[in-house]
């Protein structure tokens, strides 16, 4: 028998989280699938379950001067339809699952599922997103890159609930998001690529490159990006072949039931090449 909770306030939810170690369930689009059981029986949850999607305190998208705060209860559809949310994230969300699932699923849930194939995660890595984790003792914020440490592994205390995702408001001159899914709709990713760059006067002011589903976590290297930042487009053309091997080494996908390591690696690098080429062409 699965024990379930339906808190009325966030504070009540935090108490239940602490006392019962109940897992927060917002849309349930991952959890209900992962713990499904034979038809006619209850899902096979190893913990009590706490519904949180109805809590108005976390169901918001708030546009602040420097960042956008997406409450943990905001659905993927709400994010997709909010014009202030960065286009690249909205694009990624619009390619997730199917409309009915997007009406239930949340960005926070996608992050907490911590799958390397999570479609918002590669984009949020590139956007330098932070997450807010709240317990009865207060809230803390960490970057999404620190939050996720492996497939399904995350820095979430057993008394904490993710309450918001923060995205800095920035502008980019070149953005590319590409999901290579198993089909055109209602598909899981074989791999994904996100490239964001700010090019000013023929020089790279900022660049972020992230790869989904090609390692235990989303792959992004701030170190390698630093090698690219500050380069002129001319220099980029010259030096790209020296920097590319960093990604050849970092992108380490596996064979599974959805695709092959060889394909994932080659396509990831093809998309990287394509993106870098787009920077040189349009400048």
């Amino acid at each position: 028998m699965v024990k379930t909770f339906h808190p009325r306030t966030l504070e009540e939810a935090l108490k239940i989280r602490k006392d019962e170690k109940a897992i927060p369930l917002a849309g349930g689009t991952d959890l209900m699938v992962r713990f499904r059981s034979w038809a006619g029986t209850q899902p096979d949850f190893p913990w009590p379950v706490m519904f949180i999607n109805h809590l108005s305190e976390i169901r918001y998208i708030d546009i602040q001067p420097k960042e956008i705060r997406i409450g943990a209860g905001a659905t993927l559809s709400e994010v997709e339809q909010c014009s202030e949310v960065p286009k690249v994230l909205r694009t990624a969300v619009s390619q997730m699952a199917a409309p009915a699932l997007r009406n239930l699923g949340t960005v926070a849930g996608n992050i907490c599922n911590a799958s390397p194939a999570g479609d918002t995660i590669s984009v949020l890595y590139a956007l330098n997103a932070r997450v807010e984790l709240t317990s009865l003792h207060g809230a803390r914020q960490i970057s999404i890159m620190e939050f996720i440490s492996g497939p399904g592994r995350k820095d979430l205390g057993d008394d904490e609930i993710m309450t918001a995702v923060m995205i800095p408001i920035e502008s980019f001159t070149h953005t590319l998001y590409r999901k290579v899914g198993t089909r055109k709709a209602n598909a899981l990713s074989k791999l994904s690529f996100c490239g964001l760059a700010k090019i000013k006067a023929g020089r790279i002011d900022d660049i972020r490159l992230s790869f989904g589903a090609v390692g235990p976590t989303v792959v992004r290297s701030v170190e390698t990006e630093k090698k690219l930042i500050g380069l002129s487009i001319e220099k980029l053309k010259e030096l790209y072949s020296e920097i590319r091997p960093d990604y050849v080494a970092m992108v380490q996908p596996i064979d599974d039931q959805r695709s092959t390591a060889v394909y994932r690696k080659q396509v990831s690098l093809n998309l990287l090449d394509q993106y870098i080429e787009s920077l040189t062409m349009e400048s």
Binding site: T182, R183, N186, V262, Y263
Partner: protein, 712 residues
């Protein structure tokens, strides 16, 4: 004015199905319903040393082979009877039934299942065709692991090869395919008034009756199969319901309460039969001008651990191995190979899609080697009326492929596109030609099925059609009454054709082989004509008709020689694709088809079949990768087993050619499988054109395209 038979009407079942009113197996209520769950052997090849089950609470049962009634056999009577109800001693495939847990609470059943432990002695396993042929796991069947081993000879292949200047050899493969009927497998069994009753989501109620009668050691008259409204089948409910019905019947015999066995999706994907994987090895001799002078083909299919219908599937595969072409000198060697894989079974097309894919790709490859357009090359060999078929029968049909090709070209502006796109440019067009022998092979209708059909006129003027063919989405409960209404000149609302109940309907045969509308529909037409003549004879009039074999259709099943099929449906399919240079993902830009189905009994239903069949074939050809590893299907959820969505392929153009067949009702021929037969090869052919390299297997996934592009 009398309407044309082909003019579309609203389907009889449309409103209730679209409105969620129709009740399927899982929706039915029964008093004191018990749930059954198959307990499976989770080894591919092993001897069972012991089975330990926990102490069962009251009202719970673990049904095993020891529960088979006295005198009953632990074997399911299908075409063969090798498939046991419960594992005998040796487990031959992963997931084979060991027993069935039954009880009122499903959670408790799951807990009990966890507490059952089976001890095995592991044995060597053989999964691939080659491992089966090499007897890697010993003799699974006979001396050589070949359920079927056939040779076909047409012309003089030796003489042909003597004239050959070059010999072109290649191997082509097709993969597994899962049916993904919307409603998974499900049955309910109970005991009532001295009879065993099974309500089944199935294609062949009379097959189930026959299958379980020796198990229960009871006369077939003591078994009643009631057809439940069936949410799709595609061949997956032709024989497989027998496999569930047999242990269910044993459980009903012991428990005497209603018991439901319904697979959930994962169980259905993991543990039901799939389409046979196939391999074709071609050796084709060409003369100096590139003409085919001889063709030698070795066809093997992976049949799995039990025979089921594999030999008939193999027969259709080898009869299709020349596609729509008249090749003068041919030898075909076909084998259905026993392995420790899950037994393969019927699937829309029944071997023809495999044979046709192998044939179409091979013909395209010969043409490409010669630098000739595949279409031009294939046209040289189009079968014509009076030509000799691969089984040395006569093609009785007027073959209208040229006319169909012209229609497809015009609809898709194919000529212009072919001129514009160069091979290897990333854009391509593929065209396939195909035929499907309608109905049972050879004289099966006459010798085995012997279909009977009854029509009743009641006192109120309403008419009832009694037959055993089932509505499974293909529209029979609309088309059968439509035929009768047209003949009787009464409104279709006055005619009923309900889900069959074997205690009430005559056996008009199984719902398979694209036979129902053509063969049984003809019986409906004949019975209606008789009924019309006798309409005023009495208040109630009963008409019974029997199958009549078409004249001039000779067949010898022992040698597989003669007219393999009474008639054929024909098809042409063109696919336009664009291949993404970075990801090798394929965007299908257009689909144009033309089909000869004789005469459409209802154009909307035919278009539904064309749309569904072609898209299902495109899934087979491009997306539906199903790997078998260590005895297990790897893609066992619908997140991983990828069937197309409506977003994956564009609207298709479909045209029909009228070519009436005299032994079909109003000239109709079978079409349900035909429309599946050409999509995969057209897609693969288009990809070949787009990437400028040959593909040798389906599904043509982006992963495989990348591999092909990296070749050389």
């Amino acid at each position: 004015m009398k309407k044309r038979i082909s003019d579309s009407i609203r389907r009889v079942d449309a409103f209730d199905k679209a409105g969620g009113i129709t009740k399927y197996i899982s929706d039915m209520d029964f008093e004191d319903l018990q749930y059954g769950r198959l307990v499976r052997a989770l080894r591919s090849h092993a001897r069972i040393k012991s089975i330990k089950s926990p102490k069962l609470p009251d009202g719970y049962y673990f049904i095993t082979k020891d529960d088979i009634p006295t005198g009953g056999k632990n074997e399911i009577q299908q075409i063969s009877n090798d498939w046991p109800v419960f594992v005998k001693d040796e487990v031959l495939f992963y997931g084979e039934t060991v027993g069935m847990l039954v009880g009122p609470d499903r959670q408790k059943i799951l807990d009990l299942e966890d507490a059952i432990s089976i001890e095995y002695e592991e044995l060597e396993e053989a999964f691939s065709i080659d491992e089966g042929l090499a007897l890697k796991s010993g003799k699974i069947y006979g001396e050589d692991n070949c359920y079927g081993d056939y040779h076909l000879n047409k012309g003089d292949v030796k003489k042909g090869f003597a004239e050959a200047v070059t010999v072109f050899e290649e191997e082509i493969n097709t993969g597994y395919q899962e049916h993904v009927y919307m409603e998974p497998q499900g049955l309910v069994g109970y005991y009532e008034n001295g009879k065993y009753v099974i309500i089944a989501s199935s294609q062949c109620p009379f097959y189930i009756k026959k299958a379980i009668s020796p198990v229960l050691n009871t006369d077939q008259d003591n078994i009643v199969i009631k057809q439940a409204t069936t949410g799709g089948a595609f061949g997956g409910k032709e024989h497989f319901p027998d496999i569930i019905a047999a242990p269910l019947a044993v459980a009903v015999d012991v428990i005497r309460k209603p018991i439901q066995v319904v697979f959930d999706r994962k169980e259905d994907l993991s543990f039901t039969a799939k389409r046979h994987p196939s391999r074709g090895i071609f050796r084709t001799g060409l003369d100096a001008k590139g003409n085919i002078v001889a063709m030698d083909v070795d066809v093997t299919i992976n049949a799995g651990a039990y025979m089921s219908c594999s030999n008939i599937v193999l027969q259709r595969a080898i009869f299709s191995i020349n596609s729509v072409y008249d090749i003068a000198n041919v030898h075909v060697h076909g084998r259905s190979v026993a392995t420790n894989a899950f037994p393969s079974d019927a699937f829309r097309g029944f071997g023809a899609p495999q044979g046709l894919f192998l044939a179409e790709m091979h013909m395209s490859h010969i043409a490409r080697n010669l630098g000739i357009s595949p279409v031009e090359y294939k046209r040289r060999y189009f079968m014509k009326k009076g030509d000799t078929t691969i089984t040395n029968g006569i093609m009785h049909d007027e073959v209208k492929l040229e006319e169909m090709l012209e229609k497809v070209y015009a609809a898709g502006s194919i000529e212009e596109k072919l001129a514009e796109y160069t091979p290897g440019s990333g854009r391509g067009i593929g065209i396939s030609f195909y035929q499907h022998g309608a109905g049972f092979t050879g004289n099966g209708e006459q010798e085995i099925i012997k279909a009977k059909l009854k029509m009743l006129k009641h006192g109120d003027g309403n008419v009832e059609i009694l037959l055993s063919n089932v509505e499974m989405g293909q529209g029979l409960q609309t088309t059968f009454p439509k035929i009768a209404a047209q003949v009787l000149e009464i409104p279709i609302e006055m005619i009923s054709c309900d889900n069959p109940d074997t205690s009430k309907v005559p056996n008009s045969g199984p719902t398979v082989a694209s036979r129902s509308l053509m063969v049984v529909g003809k019986l409906v037409e004949r019975a209606s004509r008789e009924l019309k003549e006798r309409w005023d004879e009495d208040e109630e009039v009963e008409v019974l008709v029997n199958y009549i074999h078409p004249e001039g259709c000779e067949w010898d099943q022992a040698t597989l020689q003669g007219d393999a099929y009474p008639t054929y449906g024909w098809g042409v399919c063109a696919i336009e694709v664009e291949v993404d240079p970075a990801t090798a993902e394929v965007e299908t830009k257009g689909i144009w088809t033309a089909h000869d189905v004789g005469v459409a009994i209802d154009e909307m239903i035919v278009h539904g079949q064309v749309n569904g069949g072609v898209i299902q074939a495109l899934g087979y050809g491009s997306l539906e990768k199903l790997d078998y590893k260590d005895g297990k299907f790897q893609q066992n959820t619908l997140a991983d087993y990828i069937i197309p969505t409506s977003m994956d392929f564009p609207m298709m153009s479909s045209q029909l050619i009228e070519n009436p067949y005299e032994n079909g009702p109003f000239g109709a021929k079978g079409l349900g499988e035909l429309v599946f037969d050409g999509g995969a090869s057209a897609f693969a052919d288009a990809v070949e054109y787009a990437i400028g390299k040959k593909v040798y297997k389906i599904p043509v996934t982006p992963e495989y395209i990348m591999e092909v592009k990296n070749r050389d």
